[in-house]
């Protein structure tokens, strides 16, 4: 009960932050009613999805300080579980999504145990390796369509189908993911004030000190990794129903993993708002760059060139992310 109350309690944030967050929340709620652009809607849905991906990553990567670059494998597990269950056995989203989370979490425990014996870049590279191995495996596994992937054809079902999460118009998808988004924020808010949250932050500070305070470092990391996995898998399941076409190269590539990590890193790892800010900047940027520049003949790739330069600039100039800049300025003002 206490954790639930704690999740809704934002009182340790400055009033200004809460007000701005409130305004943005209202904006998000009414946005679809005012916008007629399908492109904008699609971008917003992507934004919400990646905010959630980033929030999940942020638990282990931001608060925990363990840079995980292999989250895409869990997008895959979530997406494929939902897709396969729907196509083969007509199992609706609301059953397959939790099941996907279960699979994902089990897998995360299996590889998490050896994985967290590593630290720093060794850990990061190992996470990449595991994700790529899984991607390769899915690419040859006939049961899930191997490299061709899977397709969900909406014609078979009768949209709007709330059970199976099959809709014709994006607006339905928008509100579903928006709900998840709010739940996600509440969860992370509760998490950072929970015992595990504190333990993680202590670990990030200094592992030896954390150990001498009775924290089982290995286990705390594994538990948090599982939480991050659950987030990612959940959105992965949504992804399957929304995009309706999944294949290993697209859904589980290294680029996706990095993108997920980037949300939090750019916005400010280790803060509640960080991943959301990061997603708010990166996703529209990526979409609009692609729209304006990517399609231009002979200029394939220029959108990503600019995108890459932005990543490079941020990591070189302000590694603590946008929120890091805000906090720095605030602290200076206090003094």
């Amino acid at each position: 009960m206490e954790t639930l109350r704690s999740a809704f309690d934002f009182s340790d944030f400055p009033r200004l932050d809460i007000s701005i967050a409130g305004i943005i929340a209202i904006f998000l709620l009414v946005f679809p009613l005012f916008s007629s652009s399908a492109f904008a809607m699609a971008t917003m849905i992507q934004f919400l999805m990646f905010s959630l991906y980033g929030m999940g990553w942020n638990t282990i990567g931001g608060y925990g300080g363990q840079v995980d670059l292999g989250k895409a494998q869990y997008v895959g597990i979530g997406a494929y579980t939902t897709a396969v269950l729907l196509i083969r056995w007509d199992i609706p989203f609301w059953f397959s999504m939790p099941l996907g989370i279960c699979f994902a979490v089990v897998w995360s425990f299996i590889i998490g145990y050896p994985l967290f014996r590593l630290k720093g870049h060794y850990f990061a590279i190992a996470t990449i390796a595991t994700s790529l191995v899984l991607m390769d495996l899915f690419g040859v596994w006939e049961f899930v369509g191997a490299s061709r992937g899977l397709e969900i054809s909406p014609i078979k079902y009768h949209p709007p189908d709330f059970w199976r999460l099959i809709f014709k118009e994006d607006i339905y998808y928008y509100y579903v993911i928006l709900c998840f988004f709010f739940i996600g924020i509440l969860y992370v808010n509760g998490f950072r004030k929970s015992r595990l949250g504190f333990q993680l932050r202590s670990i990030k500070d200094n592992e030896d000190v954390a150990r001498s305070l009775g924290i089982n470092v290995h286990w705390a990391k594994i538990k948090t990794y599982a939480i991050a996995t659950a987030f990612v898998s959940m959105v992965g399941s949504f992804h399957a129903c929304y995009i309706k076409s999944i294949e290993p190269e697209d859904t589980m590539s290294l680029d996706i993993s990095i993108l997920i990590a980037l949300m939090a890193m750019l916005g400010g790892a280790g803060s509640l708002w960080g991943p959301i800010i990061g997603a708010a900047v990166l996703i529209p940027l990526k979409s609009y760059l692609k729209e304006w520049l990517g399609a231009a003949a002979g200029l394939a790739g220029i959108d990503l060139v600019i995108y890459a330069m932005i990543i490079m600039l941020i990591s070189a100039l302000e590694p603590r992310g946008i929120w890091g800049i805000v906090e720095k300025r605030r602290r200076r003002k206090r003094q």
Partner: protein, 304 residues
Amino acid sequence: MDILIGSLVAGILIGMILALVALGLTIIFGVMDVVNFAHGEFLMVGMYTGLLTAQATGMDPLLTLPVSAMVGFFLGVVCYYGFIKFLMRGPMVAQLLGTFGLMLFLRNLALLIFGSEDRALHHGLLVGKSFSMGMGVIIPATKLAAAILSVFAFLAIWLLMNRTKTGKALTATALNAQGARYMGIPTDRMNALAWGIGGASVTIAGALLVNFWSVNPFVGLLFTMIAFAIVALGGFGSVPGAFFAGIVVGMIMEFPGFWDFLTYTLNWDWMMDVPMTSFKYTGVYLAYFIIMVFRPRGLFGWKH
């Protein structure tokens, strides 16, 4: 039988070249403790350089190595002074993501300039020729030459690191940057040098590789991961480690050949259904993971 020997030989040959690829990574890591995600992209640059120089001048690609080396050195130094240097001030997250950004940048720049189609070499002294080793084993001449030249390049760099004054200064910085600084060794310049030499060695490898491996802007990632596996196995920072580990990884990559050999020898039908070729690279990734968990120091590593 010939499959077995063929695979063994192929594994060793490709392994020697891969060792050269990994060499750059291990030098940079040894000196600076930075993991360069863009390493494979440097290789890609080397491949394009080798290809284009050969096509432009009509010379045999194997003779264009010095050009690739210079390009690689230059690229490495520029990357250091222009970007990496600033990255070093931040936390590790920033470094990882920064070099990843560099990877994206180089990859898409190449895409922009060269387009996405595969390009391969069609001319050259050795293209299309092959040696027969007897027992039905055939080796493409380009591969053999590339492997031999790799070994030479490797030796040259090893000599540079261990017998020259500059090389020793570099090793000193790798072992203890602060101590080296007190001895008057300029860390900044050493870092840049590491990037230069690291860049050069991998672009040379690229120029050698392009003799029998077609290039497109996306080849980078695979080789980055292979390089990581080799460096991990051989020990981060160890030059001889990179060589032996390279050969081992080369063998792993030829595993489908061994699998076929086993399939025919043991005559188990189910083995034929396993699409081993798709798992070629999986083996490498798995190897990395297993090594890091059970023997993080690798074979020869001194830096952990």
